[in-house]
């Protein structure tokens, strides 16, 4: 059975610590050594790199989807060939699945976060919610596949008209990010089972998952309004 590992503590652990990779020094400029009595040497707090990295990733993905959105707006205004596209009902069910997956992940994350010395039963229960999230994520992607098949059956292909082009581009781009989120969760499960998981890693993976969830809601609104 695996153990859940606490965040890298403020005092660096030696590398031979079995709990996992060592803390990256003591984190940034914390406890900066004052020189010549200067107090501008800061006491700033540096989070574990995974926590920072996930915000960097979220910023980049946001920029990509901002670009896609502006392209959609410009393209819609560029000519009169934009036709309203009725979204298949299945897409609403998929939305629900994704929303529920965020809830299950949050339940799992909070359970793990509260652990200090979990019993096997407690650990398995928390792990169950995590694996349920994974399953729901996969279900969402499968659901999206059926949405694309349904559109295809209606004769709406990528190049049929601009709104179908944007529908496919946005939903496929989002599905790729969901796939990235699933990879993150699989990584979390693997590290968990090896007893090497840091809370910051789990926080990062779940933050990304919630982000792609919110991103999907945004895309639904955008597609609903524009398509």
């Amino acid at each position: 059975m695996g153990t859940f590992v606490q965040d890298p503590p403020a005092i660096p652990k030696p590398r031979e610590d079995k709990l996992g990779p060592p803390a990256f020094t003591d984190g940034g400029g914390r406890d900066a050594v004052p020189a010549e009595g200067s107090l501008h040497s800061v006491q700033d707090y540096s989070p574990p790199p995974a926590s920072t990295a996930i915000w960097v990733v979220i910023a980049a993905v946001t920029m990509t989807f901002a670009a896609l959105t502006s392209a959609l707006i410009v393209r819609q205004g560029a000519s009169l060939d934009w036709h309203h596209l009725v979204m298949p009902r299945l897409i609403y069910a998929n939305t629900l699945v994704l929303l529920v997956s965020s809830v299950t992940l949050e339940i799992s994350r909070r359970k793990f976060k509260a652990f200090s010395a979990p019993t096997v039963r407690e650990f398995r229960r928390a792990e169950f919610w995590l694996k349920l999230t994974l399953a729901l994520g996969v279900l969402f992607v499968v659901g999206q596949w059926f949405v694309w098949m349904q559109l295809r059956a209606e004769g709406l292909y990528l190049a049929t008209n601009p709104n179908s082009s944007f529908f496919y581009v946005l939903t496929v781009a989002h599905a790729l990010h969901i796939f990235g989120g699933l990879c993150g969760l699989v990584y979390v499960v693997r590290r968990l089972n090896r007893g090497l998981l840091h809370k910051s890693t789990m926080d990062a993976a779940s933050r990304f998952w919630h982000f792609v969830d919110v991103l999907w809601i945004y895309l639904m609104v955008l597609l609903w309004i524009k398509i």
């Binding site: 940034g28 400029g29 010549e36 393209r75």
Partner: protein, 591 residues
């Protein structure tokens, strides 16, 4: 006091993991440098071919048909092939030289060392970043081997020409798809790199290394990473759209009823301006992605050479950050003649003029700091001074181009070519040279030959002006750019100027052989370098060995006691500087 730390991945022993798929940021930095070196040689040879053709239109260039039998029948370049070479020259230089060398190469090698880290936090992503970039380069170069050659749509790839397919000309079929795929892949590599740069700077600084104690190079790389994050994340979907217009029959960029080569195109309703908006939203920050790391390198080299801090460290950081912020607001100045609403031109013109203020402040700080300094003249400091010269000269012509009414006249002429080559290309290349001469001893453990370096500088400095200053004159005389031959009456008298430029380009290019010789000869037979040859203060000069060991600091991370530029101070152990790692008390420098 020092913190104990151990490298979070073990030193590799096998050749593949040590030199090819290495996780070590230093090896990855060298790999990026090598890639940029190969790319710059290819890019320069392409410019020679173009210049020869511009000087003597029907000149047979021996061996050219080996490059493309269709593009150069009888060794004489066709007009289309000229455009293909121009496209590849621009793309290779902007993406694989100006972005990779000052940012990815030096940044990878020195950013972790300068903040006192053992490595980047995500070494696998770092390795992927280089190899993804390498694949992007291979994909781009492979288009040379297509029967109809690479894309001819220019490095800006304006739609609809770029989005139409083979009907638009040679290289616009598969060549264009390879171009868009290559740049899309390149974006992924740079995003992975930016991720590591930002997290290293924010999270892995060693004890005592507060933000305001980071060298200006680290600030420059950090700011550039933040810019890259926004810019490459936007270019990537644009490239995807471009590929889809080619392979899936979509109409993102191709308008209705377009007839090309007597054929009605099957697309409808696309927006040609959409590409320009997406491209330049990336394209203008890209200019600063090339130049800000060079600004950091130049500041760093200059301070070490003048043996005193710059007039203001904080104002340089604030100015670089302001430039980065404004760089997203000015992109429309590339589109004054695109048919965009004239009010938009006004909106983009204003921040374009504003952005010259922080740039001017940085230049004034450099020049003001030189006053009454004890400048140490060497190849690195000469190239740093050369950077300032090129940046100012190229920047001044920017004032004219920033105004829509003047830009309408000058936009399609060689004036613009002269402007961006000086301010972006040559200036950034001077930054790369300066960084190379300065850091080579730390990177390879040997000194470069300084005399050869100085000769290289003077030939390059004079040569660059001989090439690019006449471009401004040509532009003002109305010489249009992107033409492969000048057959109109009014352009005929300008051909001798073109020939002069071509000769200057060939000589200046040949002068780079001195650099290449110096680089390779010094790498193997140069004088062994001491740990701190320039009497620098920042952490790269505190490593236990030269080149630094696998974990940079030999298992013990340094502790930082000072801001990075304690020069012109009294050191109890001799010298006019105190290193960041020295606990010695020094009088405040007043910065």
């Amino acid at each position: 006091m020092a913190t104990h730390a151990v490298h979070h991945h073990q030193a590799p022993t096998g050749f593949i993991r040590k030199y090819v798929f290495s996780l070590d940021h230093k090896v990855i930095g060298k790999q990026y440098y090598g890639l940029a070196l190969v790319a710059v040689v290819i890019g320069m040879v392409l410019s020679w071919l173009m210049r020869l053709h511009l000087g003597w239109t029907n000149l047979a260039i021996p061996g050219l048909h080996f490059l493309s039998s269709a593009g150069a029948p009888g060794n004489i370049m066709t007009p289309e092939y000229y455009l293909q070479l121009m496209t590849m020259h621009g793309t290779i230089m902007v993406f694989f030289v100006l972005t990779t060398a000052p940012f990815a190469a030096f940044g990878n090698f020195f950013l972790p060392i300068q903040v006192g880290a053992e490595d980047m936090p995500f070494p696998h992503f770092n390795m992927m970043s280089f190899w993804v970039t390498f694949v992007a380069f291979v994909v781009l170069i492979s288009s040379f081997f297509l029967s109809d050659g690479p894309s001819l749509a220019g490095w800006t790839q304006y739609a609809p020409l770029s989005a139409l397919g083979a009907v638009a000309g040679p290289g616009q079929g598969l060549g264009e798809i390879l171009w868009a795929s290559s740049i899309g892949i390149f974006c992924i590599g740079q995003l992975l790199g930016s991720l590591n740069f930002i997290t290293t700077t924010l999270d892995l600084r060693t004890k005592g290394m507060s933000l305001m104690r980071m060298p200006l190079t680290v600030w420059a790389w950090f700011i550039t990473s933040c810019m890259g994050l926004g810019a490459f994340a936007v270019l990537m979907p644009a490239c995807i759209f471009l590929v889809l217009d080619h392979v899936a029959g979509t109409s993102f960029f191709v308008p209705s009823n377009l007839v090309v080569n007597d054929q009605l195109q099957p697309h409808s309703g696309g927006s040609t301006l959409l590409w320009q908006h997406l491209f330049w939203f990336f394209g203008h920050p890209e200019v600063y992605i090339a130049i800000i790391p060079a600004m950091g390198i130049v500041s760093h080299v200059l301070i070490t050479s003048i043996r005193k801090p710059l007039l203001s460290y904080k104002v340089i950081i604030a100015s670089m950050s302001t430039i980065a912020f404004l760089s997203y607001m000015v992109y429309g100045h590339h589109m004054f003649v695109s048919g965009m609403n004239p009010m938009s031109s006004l909106f983009f013109s204003f921040p374009t003029l504003i952005i010259t203020i922080p740039a001017t402040i940085i230049v004034l700080i450099w020049i003001g700091s030189l006053y009454r300094s004890r400048l140490r003249i060497n190849a690195a400091s000469l190239f740093a001074l050369g950077f300032i010269s090129m940046f100012v000269t190229g920047g001044v012509s920017g004032f004219f181009l920033a105004q829509p009414s003047l830009d309408i006249m000058l936009h399609a002429t060689y004036f613009v070519v002269g402007h961006f080559h000086l301010v972006m290309a040559v200036a950034a290349i001077f930054g790369i040279f300066s960084g190379t001469y300065f850091w080579f001893p730390k990177m390879f453990g040997r000194m470069m030959n300084d005399t050869l370096g100085k000769i290289h500088f003077w030939l390059t400095f004079v040569g660059a002006y001989c090439i690019f200053m006449p471009f401004h004159y040509l532009g003002m005389a109305g010489n249009v750019r992107r033409y492969e031959a000048f057959v109109d009456d009014y352009l005929q008298p300008l051909i001798p100027v073109h020939r002069f430029i071509t000769v200057a380009a060939l000589i200046t290019g040949a002068a780079q052989l001195i650099f290449l010789y110096n680089l390779f000869h010094s790498r193997f037979w140069g004088k062994p370098a001491p740990d701190n040859p320039w009497e620098g203060t920042s952490l790269e000069w505190s490593t236990p060995t030269t080149p630094p060991p696998f974990d940079n600091f030999g298992g013990t991370l340094p502790v930082v006691y000072h801001d990075p530029y304690q020069y012109g101070v009294e050191n109890t152990t001799g010298g006019d500087y105190v290193m960041q790692t020295s606990p010695q008390q020094v009088a405040p420098t007043g910065d």
